[in-house]
């Protein structure tokens, strides 16, 4: 349908799941490392608490990746039966069996280790969780780096690595950032200690997009086709950069100042701007990753833009509902 194949949807799921598992491992490790380095006990506790909460999106990402890999294995069997697929799609499918086994082993051992660590004594749990996140990041980074296999380590293969692995630092980190915002929202302690790190997190997102630009430079000329998809993707990247400056710059600083001043939330137009800007960020990254997973979409530029706008409205409505629920919850807490 619309030039899309089911296996491409699974590839999107795998990319999304791994990006999220990788990003949560990265930030879980960072916060646990910091918790062992700071002298302030309250700050260390905030870091540990946030790192523990990151296990939720970590396992969410792992579950999505697992389901997608199982789907991909059946798609690989179909492709071997002679269904016509374009070369790069064959390369992508050819990589599936080689990375599937390591992923299944990783999933099983990570789950066993996680359960064992939950039963471990509290005193050494922080160090054990830290090691867990570091090991998970290393494995996920390896697995996500091979979305396709050309048969040799040439420029194209390096492009695949950069073009895929950057999702940990971009898509995955953007979702993690939003998750951190949500879990910190109702706790002034978490806000105070987690919000100041948002600028460092946005640095990683900028670097992630830079990795993608550099990887495209490796195949520039060979890989670029002037299709509606190309123009749409470049438009979204342009929007994303402009939005990133506004969100990470003035809005981010305003958010930080609000927390430092002891106020509960951003006020007026700043709150609206933050909601719109945050939604544009998530909309853009999910759209880019989703559209990139499909090679032969038959949409025109206008249709792509319409889909993008529609997805933005859906996410914005979700964000609005969540905000209203948070407000009510907050009012309930004040009443107690």
């Amino acid at each position: 349908m619309f030039g899309a194949e089911l296996s491409e949807l699974f590839m999107f799921g795998r990319q999304l799941g791994l990006a999220l598992a990788g990003a949560t491992s990265l930030w879980g490790a960072v916060f646990l490392y910091k918790s062992q380095r700071v002298a302030n006990a309250e700050q260390a506790a905030a870091y540990r608490r946030v790192a523990a909460r990151l296990f939720l999106p970590f396992w969410g990402g792992m579950a999505v990746a697992l389901a997608s890999w199982i789907g991909l294995l059946s798609a690989t069997a179909l492709a071997h039966e002679g269904i016509g697929v374009v070369p790069t799609h064959v390369e992508r499918l050819a990589a599936v069996p080689f990375t599937a086994t390591p992923f299944f082993v990783f999933f099983g051992s990570a789950l066993l280790l996680f359960v064992a660590l939950r039963l471990a004594p509290q005193v050494w749990r922080t160090k054990a969780y830290f090691s867990f996140f570091v090991a998970a990041l290393a494995v996920v980074l390896f697995l996500i780096s091979f979305p396709a296999w050309t048969g040799q380590f040439d420029r194209t293969q390096l492009f695949y690595i950069g073009h895929s692995a950057h999702s940990i630092f971009t898509l995955g980190t953007v979702i993690t950032l939003d998750f951190l915002f949500v879990v910190s929202h109702r706790s002034s302690l978490l806000k105070q200690h987690i919000y100041p790190h948002f600028r460092s997190i946005s640095k990683v997102i900028w670097v992630g997009l830079g990795i993608d630009f550099l990887s495209v430079a490796l195949v520039f000329g060979d890989a670029i086709a002037l299709t509606p998809k190309f123009f749409f993707m470049q438009t979204v990247v342009g929007i994303l950069i402009i939005n990133g400056v506004i969100l990470g710059g003035p809005i981010g600083e305003k958010l930080l100042r609000t927390v430092k001043s002891g106020a509960r939330d951003l006020a007026g137009r700043w709150a609206t701007a933050a909601s719109i800007s945050g939604t544009i960020s998530i909309t853009s990254w999910t759209t880019i990753t989703f559209v990139d997973s499909f090679e032969h979409l038959t949409f025109g530029y206008g249709e792509f833009l319409l889909g993008y706008a529609g997805w933005f409205l859906v996410l914005f409505a979700g964000h609005f509902v969540w905000e209203q629920m948070e407000k009510r919850r907050g009012e309930g807490e004040h009443a107690l």
Partner: protein, 59 residues
């Protein structure tokens, strides 16, 4: 006027460069579409990488 940084008046140098990169990237698309000329597009990407470098250096 709000105290502190407003939307566009007090951006850092790196943020100005990144903002310019985004605008130049969007502006480059008609050139690519009509003439197949990637020069402005490549400039936008270069500008972006330079902006990120400055951002990492906290400029």
């Amino acid at each position: 006027m709000m105290k502190g940084r407003s939307f566009f008046t007090e951006l850092r140098l790196s943020e100005y460069i990144l903002l310019s990169a985004g605008i130049v990237l969007l502006a480059s698309l008609p050139f690519v579409l009509v003439y197949g000329d990637f020069t402005v597009w490549v400039v936008a990407k270069g500008l972006y990488l330079f902006g990120v470098l400055l951002f990492l250096l906290n400029r």
